[in-house]
Amino acid sequence: MVVNPRFKQVFVLSTAMLSFISFWKAASIVLCDFGSSAYYAGGIAMNAFGPAFPWFIMGVMLFSGLMLGVYTESCLLFVRGGVYVVVREAMGKVMAKLSVSALIFDYTLTGPISSVTAGLYLGGLLENVLPLMHINWHVPARAFAVVFALLVTGYFWRENIRGVEESADNNLKIISFVTLVAVVLIGWAGLTLYHRGFTLPPFHPVFTDKALGWTVHFPWLKAVGALGIIMAFGHSILALSGLETLAQVYREIEDPKFENLKKAVITIFVFSVLFTGLLTFMSSLIIPPDLVAGKYADNLLSGLALELDGPYWARLGLQTMVVISGALMLVGAVNTSFVGSNGVLNRVADDGILHDWFRHLHKKYGTTYRIINLVAITQILIILISRGDIFLLGEAYSFGVLWSLTFDTLSMIILRFKKRDEEQEWRFPFNVKSGGVYLPIGLVAVLLVLLAATGMNMLTKKVATIGGVLFTVTFFTIFHISEKMNEKKAQLYMPDEDADEKMNLRSESDIAKVVPELTGTRRILVPVRNPNNLVHLAAVLETVDDETTDIIVLSAKIAKGIQSGAETMSDEDREVFSAVVLLAEKYGKTVKPIFVFSNDPFFSMAQVAQAAGADEIVMGVSGSTGAEVQLERLAMAWGMLKKPGEPGKPVLARVVWEGRQMTFQLS
């Protein structure tokens, strides 16, 4: 189909490919953060309450299944969810600001704890490898870890400023390699246990004075029985860090969204129980307790590899594999902490609670460099203050994790009542129907566990409580002041000069330049105009396989004198695109959004459809003209753009509205 060269007035201003990922990739992104705690959680817990640690790490991993259930329900409610959105919907902006402040504390600490742990594992390996190479350097483990952590943080600081995107493919490769190492480790550890036999670790936690925190001042708070269990659980709960990533990644999961979410959740749960839970447990059965507390306290899985049965060279080889897999996963978690903090802060900025100063874009790379700088500087300070002490970092870590999980679960309970009339695809189990309302007994039970652990940690974890409260209050204050300043700014509204860049627009002179990017065997053109009338797009997304079909979403803006080339998108245009992107995310299907300026929307529809070789044009019904007139105008534009006498490729033209549609052929 040749486009009549007289009609080149239509030009593409924006194209943005929305792509979605498989459940494997989604699970691997979450696991690169969530699963990385396997490398340090056991050692930190051992340091706090002794040899009972594997029971509690396993308990936390099993509890993660419940938290994954809570996140699943919240993801189904909000495609672009996460703690901030969920808490805001349930309890309002003030509580949302508090919860997101705690979450930022979690993300910020993820970087230092991961990079320092990676440094400690590498340092431990060098201690073993260098003598074999006749290099008699003594590598002070913590100093090495600090230097390594600073280098890693600096690297990802630079990468995030440059806007290099996190690749789901890389995450999948890392997790595949980690899985391979874990399978070898579990198998080998199983053989070792078979030959050596084993004694189960004691269940009763024995706390150090430091691990008791302020509770030593409350004689009635004895660290025994149920209270002891809650204390130990609280000291182990840092292993839950990274679950929030599931809420962030849900929007990227491909169709069928819910089925893939379930598969991702099951994958994450099984991996975590086996990798973090089982390996920590096996470590405690194989490594002598004094070595767990001493030599291997900050590189437990290295210790497991080295303490297995077998020749030293083979064990050293396995340790090398463990360290490489750990370094990859932990270093990936550092990047996740940058991406996560930046993403969450941008999300709250969209909601007007972070001043635009923070969102100023880098002139060359177009990234929100001030937020990235803030995260990087905070992480570097934390690394320096910690001096490579993983226990100090672990002590501080669980504050953000627990508070954000608590806020999230409480909000989900409130939303059960607020959204009682809404159909839900899935609910967290154990609901009792009473008076037309499903009472969320299961969610309440989870909340009670979280509240108990949160309350206890506030008393036992001094560093976490002081650091967490200071950090949260600081961020809450920044959000509060920003919100007030933005409210004033809104009254004296001035257009933002960076507005276009924030939409990631790409300008093209002609629609023909976009056509080579279409790779499907079928092509459907979906014109959109009103963000509140996207029934037709939903109908397409619901039924079309985006693996084989390109869905081109066209927004045409009427512009007279369109040859100037100086047109920009208005807020209304952005609103249309935002609605399109949200809908595509909801269905997990890829669309190709295109924005054109034209003096006739039907002309641009026909031109794009003919240039792209579309098989179908699916329109929403216009309230002002009606479906028949829309089809007539499209037929006229379609004919006008065809060369006289040329048969051309026929296209199906559909007008879709609630419960009805009209379909005709344009030839």
Binding site: M636, G639, M640, K642, L666
Partner: protein, 156 residues
């Protein structure tokens, strides 16, 4: 429901008897009036003059002037059983106030208002707009002979 993609032809629609040349620089309303007047004898048994004028005026509000300078006012009537058309050629053209396009050819098209006929109606609109491209319009306008114009269209 996808309808049969029925073929349509211009030769049956446009004949010397329903092709007119309009001299001077008429207004859009004048052109519409002249086309309606020429149409009326063809459909007088089925549609009254008032009904035709009212309906054409109503659909005209939707403005059917194409980029190519071709104007297709059209209306559907349940009383009709086939297409009816009147082609007006305006050698000096008129300027459409809504779009600014110079119009040298206008075709008043009446179609049956029946669901089964809508596919053919769309095909006809598509065929008309495909056929009446600027080069052909200029050629038709310069002929100044309804029979020659109809013959030229039939040959295409």
């Amino acid at each position: 429901m996808i309808r049969q993609s029925d073929g349509v032809s211009l030769s049956a629609l446009i004949k010397p008897g329903n092709t007119i040349y309009i001299e001077g620089k008429p207004s859009k309303d004048e052109v519409l009036r002249l086309l309606t007047e020429r149409m009326l004898p063809q459909v007088s048994g089925a549609i009254s003059a008032k009904a035709l004028a009212d309906r054409v005026a109503e659909v005209e509000k939707l403005n059917q002037v194409l980029e190519s300078g071709f104007y297709i006012p059209h209306a559907k009537f349940p009383e009709l059983g086939s297409f009816y058309g009147v082609l007006g050629l305006i050698p000096q053209g008129f300027t459409d106030p809504a779009t600014g396009h110079t119009v040298k050819a206008a075709l008043l098209l009446l179609s049956p208002h029946k669901p089964a006929f809508f596919q053919r109606h769309l095909n006809m609109l598509s065929l008309l707009s495909q056929t009446f491209q600027p080069e052909l319009i200029d050629k038709l306008a310069s002929l100044n002979d309804p029979a020659a114009a109809a013959a030229l269209l039939a040959s295409r």
